[in-house]
């Protein structure tokens, strides 16, 4: 925050080879988990509830000790088998799902709670700066039970940011808010994090949040991070069908590899974006996003409309192909197809993503 010189290039957080198994449980929660976050970056981790996202944050912040691997913060090991730097010495900000504001302190006192080593004038200036930045300067003397959910969230954020942490961890920051407020706040919080140049790791189960908040994004799956990268990469180049299923909508169709990058499917011939590596047979699975299909009156390809979901300016059609596989399609809401009717569709995108079939089992 203070250093305006050359931006540090070293990663703010490196988690490597992390393993963790809850006591009295067979399945490990983390299996050789690796994760790196560059300085000043906002990383978003998505995954099903109960997959261990929160536990990962708890391990990083130092609430739980780890049984193997290392966690490095700014180049310094904070957690390893031998070492465990206590929470209070890590300088990691933590933002909890239910905000965990101190109920007996006012908003201003909450924010300055971690600044007890600062000089009084600096402390006041810091509180003033943050409350102004987050537009909560009008509620400074109120108590947590007197303010709204959105305000609580900002206070919790301000409190976490106050001591200028090396890293800010946010656990489902928007889950307690209603959806309208959520969209607005996601944007705001991104602004604040960027303005304060905070390195942050956010875990959420909502991919939309991750899309609008993060610089990088990862999918947490079966104890490790299945894919970590830019938002576009995850959406357009998922490494496997699980990631594809998790990020964005889409259907998986079987196909047969004819050439290196050419696949034959029920929808027609498809070119792959990249050549498939380690493909044991010619059988593949192709990811078809809703935007890959379009309605075409002249197309020979027919599909049965089984369900349609109204989204205002467009519909999402659930279509059943002759083989029984389902695909999804966006279509303008001017169209008035009936459920049970056959709809002519055509593949719009030229390049798609496919996965070798071996992952099926």
């Amino acid at each position: 925050m203070g250093n305006q010189g050359s931006p540090q290039k070293s990663p703010a957080l490196i988690v490597s080879g992390l393993n963790f198994t809850y006591r009295r449980q067979l399945n490990p929660l983390f299996k050789d988990l690796d994760l790196t976050i560059e300085s000043g970056e906002i990383g978003c981790l998505i995954g099903h509830s109960g997959c261990g996202k929160t536990t990962l944050l708890r391990a990083i912040v130092g609430i739980i000790p780890i049984t193997s691997g290392t966690i490095k913060l700014g180049g310094k090991v904070v957690s390893s088998v031998k070492e465990h730097v206590p929470i209070e010495k890590r300088n990691i900000g933590m933002f909890f799902q239910d905000y965990a504001l101190f109920p007996h302190l006012t908003v201003a006192e909450n924010i300055s709670f971690g600044l007890f080593r600062w000089k009084k004038s600096l402390r006041q200036a810091r509180v003033k700066f943050l409350t102004k930045l987050l537009a909560i300067d009008n509620i400074c003397s109120q108590f947590p039970h007197e303010i709204s959910g959105g305000q609580k969230q900002r206070v919790a954020l301000a409190r976490g940011l106050a001591p200028e942490p090396q890293l800010l961890l946010l656990d489902e920051p928007f889950s307690n808010l209603d959806s309208e407020l959520r969209e607005f706040l996601v944007f705001e919080i991104r602004e604040v994090l960027k303005k304060t140049r905070t390195t942050a790791l956010v875990v959420t189960h909502d991919q939309q949040e991750a899309f609008s908040l993060g610089d990088k994004m990862g999918v947490f799956l079966n104890g490790s991070i299945a894919q970590w990268g830019g938002l576009q990469d995850l959406y357009h180049r998922p490494v496997n069908r699980f990631v594809a299923n998790f990020v964005g909508d889409g259907a998986i169709l079987p196909g047969r590899l004819i050439l290196d990058k050419l696949v034959k499917t029920e929808l027609g011939k498809i070119y792959l974006k990249e050549k498939l590596e380690s493909c044991p047979s010619s059988l593949v699975e192709v990811l078809v996003r809703p935007e890959d299909l379009c309605y075409d009156e002249k197309s020979p390809l027919m599909a049965l409309l089984v369900f349609k979901s109204f989204r205002g300016s467009y519909y999402i059609y659930h279509l059943k192909l002759a083989s029984g596989y389902r695909v999804y399609m966006f279509i303008s809401s001017r169209h008035k197809h009936q459920i049970g009717q056959s709809v002519r569709i055509r593949l719009k995108s030229q390049f798609l993503t496919a996965f070798p079939l071996k992952e099926l089992e």
Binding site: E88, K89, A100, F102, P103, H104, G114, F116, H145
Partner: protein, 531 residues
Amino acid sequence: MNFSKLKFAWWIVPISSLIIVAFFQIGSSFLEIDFDIWQHLIKYVLPLAVWNTIGTLFLACVGVIVIGVSSAWLVSNYQFWGRSFFSWAMIMPMAIPPYIMAIVYIDAFDYSGFLQNFLRNFLQTGHSFWHIRSWWGLTLVLSLSFYPYIYLFCRSAFLTQGQELTNVARSLGVSRWRLFLKLTLPMSKPWILAGLYLMAVETLSDFGTFSVFGIDNLTTTIYKAWFGLFNHQLALQISSLLLFIILIFWQLSKLIGRRRHFTNKDPRHSFYPLTRHQSWLAIGWLSLIFGISFLFPVVRLIIWVWQDFSTSFNWRYLDFAYNSLTISLITASITVFLGLILTLARHYRGSLLTRWWIQVSILGYATPSVVLAVALYVPFIKFDFWLSNLFGETKILGGTLLALVFILCQRFLSPAYQNTTSMIKRISANQGLSATTFGASKIRILIKIYLPALRNGLLTGFLLVFMDVMKELPITLITRPFGWDTLAVRVFEMTSSDMFERAAFPSLCIVLISSLVIIVINKSIESNQYG
């Protein structure tokens, strides 16, 4: 529910009749004031009694906070060998009524007491090492008897505050010690105050301990005015002073602990491991408290009984025990039933008036036993007198068991009501409503939904009242039928004539029965929390 705003649960009116009569009596006692006696009282008696009452209360507050908060902090935050044992062992002193604790300590530290002798020989001094029959002795006994209140409240405060706040604070760089001072303690303030208030009411209304110590407080003064001077009006007038002091404490605790209780939804709680040395310190401190507040008194009583069994045991003790058990059982059953009625009244007709009336009904808990007994004694006699005029010689309420049960019920209604109410609050209104949509009648809902859910609350309430009655002294002393003694009364009579060893057997009975009750309550609370 809107439709119930104006509804008043008329059927709860009789439940509070006694408390209203009592307060009416106290109020009307001022119609006739004997200024000569009051001058004497104000000059010679009351200042000392009030000073003793308030002074020892203040010291005992310090004592219970030190013992209660520290032990609760240790068992709810740190992991060490024996933690779960101490977690429930620390509440065991509740089984020892303070007047029995007093006997044990007075005996040990009196001029010829064995600890006094030991210390005198050890320190090679001729004079007494410590004068036990003083404020300090009294403070020690009160602190050891009443710290479990603070302990229980603090433990539940510390355990329910949730790990999350602690973790946030720590991630902000706060050390454990600072965390305790800045976060845990301030957040527990409402709990600590609630515990202190209960303890203050107990101390202010204590009769047995102060009389065993021979230190006059307001309750013993009331008793003396009643038994020594046979001055009913005067006793009631002094009672009003005592009630006024309790009222002040009530207001104080409300004023300081205004903010609500903080609980966290996250039930996760982890214990911080201690190093070997720290563990020994923690175990040492808790063992010391457990030792002097429970183990030592119990062992002392057992030794007494053992030594003097042939002389102290008397077949009449079986009668006393039988009387104690009967009165406790009857009172607890009736009280729980009344408590249930109040709970249902609040639930079904929870208008402002109903709730207000319930508060009046359970005021007995804040009314010292002596006051309640003295205030109701005369109206009971008058009632009998009035009946006698109508139907000839009748004795229904004057010095009868019925009167005793009535007064005890009124005194201990609060725990029975509070425990069921806290349970019924967990049942959402929708649960009852959803049953109604299936066409279930009110009675059926009550039997099928509410009673099973309230079972634990009813049981806890029953056991608490049972134990309270077992330990209760002044009401039984004043209103019991002639010659009808309980264990507690026997203890009091023997100690009044300084025959401590002969009080040992009934004391031990009380302690053992109460211990059993506490263990059962603790089990039921735990299974309720985790089950």
